[in-house]
């Protein structure tokens, strides 16, 4: 249909609609697309924001390949991904337990959800205190129950990442649980009734009905979890000073932050950020490709 053939009313509606979507589109251009392109350009430059920027080709990327801190922060970030399946198991277990009409169940739901809404800054300070080697309440419990001295959580390079995973489990389980709970409530009871008639055990029902029917939620949780973990920063910034012992607590975003806002290596930091962006993009793409094999669609 040609523009001038439209009725006056419809043309007016179109004009207004375009006007209504203009702010977010402008926002996208100014705060999304423009920085994205600038960042791409910067990744081929050397710039400290004081002296003029200098084009250096691929030097930033070859520097990255020689930089031990880059590898360490990438490795640390990958290790933290372990928290995702652990969190899913805990959240699903909780959701299954809560998916019944029990008195006071909504109180439990609220309690498990409180850390999800709490500022990560406050949670980091509190975990830092709980994980204290000498006086922390966690090592106190380990001593009481097992009679051994607990690990030096945030002081031992081997225990820094488990500390973050533990904290992430505690603070994130409520959010995932709510998603699973909604998924469980959406499953029609006829599936279970039919299975019951066929004599399927509870475990079989769970394995062959519940788990597959929840696959869209598994998928959502994994995709969002991977994206979120790759971008984790705040708890590391607060709990692992300067990246922690032997840089064992630094994530890739922490590394970018340090390079950009401590040393003002704007070009180099941009190139690392682009590598991170590409990693996230590829990993997400792979997950969507594979999702057709295991995510159930009705």
């Amino acid at each position: 249909m040609k523009w001038n053939q439209l009725s006056g009313h419809r043309r007016k509606d179109m004009m207004w609609s375009l006007l209504f979507v203009t702010p977010p589109v402008l926002g996208f251009l100014i705060f999304g697309l423009a920085p994205l392109l600038t960042s791409f350009g910067l990744s081929f430059m050397s710039w400290d924001m004081l002296t003029p920027a200098e084009f250096i080709g691929l030097d930033n990327f070859s520097k990255m390949l020689d930089d031990e801190k880059f590898y360490k922060s990438l490795f640390n970030t990958l290790v933290l991904l372990v928290g995702i399946p652990l969190g899913m198991i805990c959240a699903l277990t909780l959701a299954v337990m809560m998916n019944r009409s029990l008195k006071g169940i909504s109180i439990f739901r609220t309690i498990y959800y409180i850390p999800v809404i709490s500022p990560i800054m406050a949670l980091s300070l509190l975990w830092q205190w709980m994980l204290n080697y000498d006086y922390g309440i966690i090592n106190e419990f380990i001593w009481k129950i097992f009679g051994v001295q607990g690990p030096n959580w945030l002081g031992d390079p081997n225990w820094v990442k488990p500390s973050f995973i533990l904290m992430g489990l505690w603070s994130g389980v409520g959010g995932t649980m709510v998603l699973y709970l909604a998924g469980l409530q959406a499953i029609s009871s006829t599936y279970y009734e039919a299975a019951e008639v066929d004599g399927a055990t509870r475990w079989h029902q769970f394995k062959h009905i519940t788990l597959p029917l929840l696959s869209p939620i598994h998928f959502f949780v994994v995709v969002m979890g991977v994206i979120g973990t790759f971008q984790s920063f705040s708890q590391m910034y607060i709990m692992a000073v300067d990246g922690g012992p032997e840089y064992s607590g630094a994530t890739i975003v922490f590394y970018i932050f340090q390079e950009a806002f401590r040393y003002f290596n704007m070009g180099y930091a941009s190139s690392v950020a682009w590598v991170l962006g590409i990693i996230i993009f590829i990993v997400t793409l792979i997950q969507f490709r594979f999702s057709k094999r295991w995510v159930y669609q009705d």
């Binding site: 994205l36 960042s39 809560m98 500022p119 990560i120 941009s270 950020a273």
Partner: protein, 279 residues
Amino acid sequence: MALKRRLTNLFIYILLLAGSVIMLGPLAWTISTSLKSQKNVFDIPPKWIPDPATWSNYQDVWAKAPLLFGFLNSTIIVVTVLTIGIFISTMAAYAFSKFDFPFKEGLFLALLGTMMIPYSVVMIPQYIGFSEVGWVDTLLPLIVPGLFGNIVTIFFFRQFMQGSIPSELIDAAKIDGASYFRTFLTVAIPIAKPAIAAQAALGFMGIWNDFLGPLIYLHTPEKQTIQVLIASMQSSYISTSNYPALMAASIIALIPVVIVFFMAQRYFIESMAISGIKG
């Protein structure tokens, strides 16, 4: 059978209760620590009930750091971004959900694409840009981008409006002579209220708890948000080992979100669930 069910329920209650202790224990420990004096905090074995209990940590923290400024700055950012940003988002969602216009699909896809860009990629050019216009160490870099609407919010509203605003209603308003903007105000907004409340609750949490953005831009203590201010207390106002003061500060930062959460609990959990399934 009934007995078996009751036993299962009892068992589940006990498990959930044990889980609740693990969830609430750290928070209780924070409160307990914040009420202890510095000389009792390293007592072995640790006491859960502080004896003697004292409020002095709260007074100390409040006196030493400009926490009132922190609250004020966080509130300014939250209120402006939420009121203007959400209104802009509802407008865009209304157009996207109920009308046809040129480039509609392309524009929407472009906006969705921004969700794929990690913040760490755009934060450096954004910082450079904002420092060019002299906005570093002001609240503007944290407010202005939010005023243009948020794609996640737009997406959420669009899904909601597609299902719940009947096109007949819009047509009827039009026949009555209402303008496009008036129809939006009087037909769309009232229907979208539950969705708006859900997004406001979620948005409050996201902006209030934000850390990386404020950390990059705000350097003067009086200009910092409550999160950055308290995180920096560790080094600038109190010694690292003054855990009672640090825990008191954490509680102060926690209180507003917990209050908002209990007031708008329903919206929080529902919108989490909805956006999770549809997203």
